[in-house]
Amino acid sequence: MTETSFVQPRDRSAGSLALRIALRWGLYTILVLFAIYYLLPFFVMVTTSLKSLDEIRTGSLVALPREVTFDAWKTAWSGACSGIKCEGLQPYFWNSMLMAVPSVMLSTLIGALNGYVFAQWNFRGANLFFAFLLFGCFIPFQVVLLPMAKMLGLMHLSGTIPGLILVHTVYGLGFTTLFFRNYYVTIPHELVRAAKVDGAGFFRIFWSIFLPLSLPIITVTVIWQFTQIWNDFLFGVSFSQAGSQPVTVALNNIVNSTTGVKEYNVDMAAAIIAALPTLFVYVVAGKYFIRGLTAGSVKG
């Protein structure tokens, strides 16, 4: 290798510099346009939720509020009516929390164990078993509604939050197992062998060696599962009753219960409240999400 190969050919770059800047600007313009396009509905939601009903009726849809008021948010949280009750989203929000947090934890933990077994402990029929689990990722959930309702009935869990936790844990396992299995496959088998020679057993190896390695994939799984479970409507509407409905079902009821005037500002505020937790999780852990998804491919 000679030294000249490290020297930039100067005149060529000078000629294309203008072109490169132009292309870069074009790229940014397109990106900004797309960002606006995607953010516009959210902008309308936020501004509408901060307006009074009068202003909504008279003003333009995309205009900023003349007078900022949080009344709609208060109503959405604690006063909006769904059917005959007027207690806002608050109780259902906590229902969703009570449902989502345990289901996320359980499905993540069991998925990690499953993935650990599939990736590191080969057993007879493992591939077939894994194929069945993967199949679970692609089943349209409408198919399982009736059998699941029957099962919940047999277990005396119909219409309860523990019942919803069970449903979400079971149907989350396909994806969580897949995530963890693909992550653990990249970890060399010699690690398990070394630990076996060191005297560690199945759970000890999982707990002391694999779990501490798993932060990126745990983050991915938690975000994925939390988003899925929090946003779920189908299971929520099918397997809950008056006291145990999750926030998505309550939001639907609030928006659909009209008593005379349609309160767009309350509807908007309620929708944002219902979406806040997933937004929060993504903002807090989003960079790990991207990192975790690609972790397997860059691990040396």
Binding site: E190, L191, R193, A195, K196, V197, G199, R204, S208, L213
Partner: protein
């Protein structure tokens, strides 16, 4: 004394594929056994069988007098060093070394004492708080050794531990392992594909090919009296010259007639008797020298055309052709041999080996 490791009639199959066939090896306490062979010969599988990480399909394994055939790895009283080192990535060096003791419930004071002892032995005291990711290859290697040493096992197992190191470090670590073996007088089983490692480290070598043991012996036995052409070709660098020849009896010895391209066949007298018909003669490169540098009863001289001269620093290798095969002679470094010239070479045939051309097995 009872053997520390005794393997009897071991078989290992994956489905219908036989990986290991009728393996019988035993070593005495303090021996350094090296399993050597080309990749895919089953040497690593055999080591994993000894460790209990692979189930065996037939036969028995005794370690320190106890039947360990169906015992799990943790109860075999062994320690193992892996090719990739297999250090636990989230634990510090100290935790890596003490993990085994922690799992076994050894008390903290003993753990600390053992750790300090091993760290001093391997000179890794200053690394104890680092994570494996912050260590160089050689340092990781030391930590992996430390994890094995701290256990004080009946048997150490090494699975190609030096193959991930660069050439210089490999030679250094090789002599460290040898020193360690001499100091501890421990029993070790070591897998490698590198025949130089095998020669330098072993007290006993097992040469394997295709899941079958080809030869068991001391390094000198393996080197000087290879059991077949495979061992002759595999051990030694450059390998033993294998020259097809036509033999006939002559007095107390034999005469070998070797064809040459474009020249009269060469005839060499050897002291070994009873050779007749076609044979393959095995001669180490260092047993072929320039005339005048070798003397002895079995030295024969022949003029050979030099095809190529390869200076290698300490020696110069000269390549010629005999019996249709390339033959390497190891000459002293200052040789004046030029390619294209005809050189008188002295063949020291005292230690020559003879193999059957059909089976490759040793005849004499």
């Amino acid at each position: 004394m009872a053997p520390i490791l005794d393997i009897q009639n071991l078989y290992k199959n994956y489905g219908s594929v036989e990986i290991l066939k009728d393996i019988n090896v035993s070593i005495e306490p303090g021996e350094f056994l090296v399993l050597v062979g080309p990749s895919g010969c089953g040497k690593s599988t055999l080591l994993n069988c000894i460790a209990g990480l692979e189930e065996i399909s037939g036969g028995a394994i005794h370690i320190a007098g106890k039947d360990m055939t169906d015992v799990s790895p943790k109860d075999r009283n062994i320690a193992m060093v892996f090719q990739s080192y297999a250090l636990y990535p989230t634990m510090t060096v100290a935790k890596n070394i003490t993990f085994g003791m922690k799992v076994r419930g050894v008390d903290q004071a003993t753990q600390d004492a053992k750790l300090a002892e091993v760290a001093a032995q391997l000179q890794i005291e200053q690394l104890l708080n680092r994570k494996p990711g912050q260590l160089s290859g050689g340092q990781r290697q030391r930590v992996a050794m430390g994890r094995a040493l701290v256990r004080d096992p009946a048997l150490f197992l090494f699975d190609e531990p030096l193959s991930n190191l660069d050439a210089k470090l490999r030679v250094e670590m090789r002599s460290e392992i040898k020193k360690l073996h001499q100091r501890l007088n421990a029993s070790m089983v070591y897998v490698t594909h590198d025949q130089i490692e095998a020669m330098t480290l072993a007290t006993k070598i097992v040469v394997m090919k295709g899941g079958v043991i080809q030869q068991i012996g001391t390094p000198a036995e393996i080197y000087n009296r290879p059991a077949n052409t495979f061992v002759a070709d595999f051990m030694g660098s450059p390998p033993m010259n294998l020259i097809p020849a036509e033999a006939r009896a002559n007095g107390t010895g034999s005469v070998l007639r070797i064809d040459r391209d474009g020249m009269e066949p060469i005839e060499l007298h050897v002291p070994q008797n009873g050779l007749t018909g076609e044979v393959i003669m095995g001669v180490r490169p260092e047993d072929i020298a320039e005339v005048g540098f070798r003397a002895g009863e079995a030295v024969q001289t022949g003029a050979c055309l030099v095809d190529m001269v390869e200076p290698a620093g300490a020696d110069t290798y000269v390549l010629t052709r005999l019996g249709g095969r390339q033959v390497t002679a190891r000459l002293h470094a200052e040789t004046s041999a030029q390619h294209g010239e005809v050189l008188d070479l002295a063949f020291d045939l005292e230690k020559a080996s003879f193999f059957s051309p059909q089976t490759g097995a040793r005849i004499s």
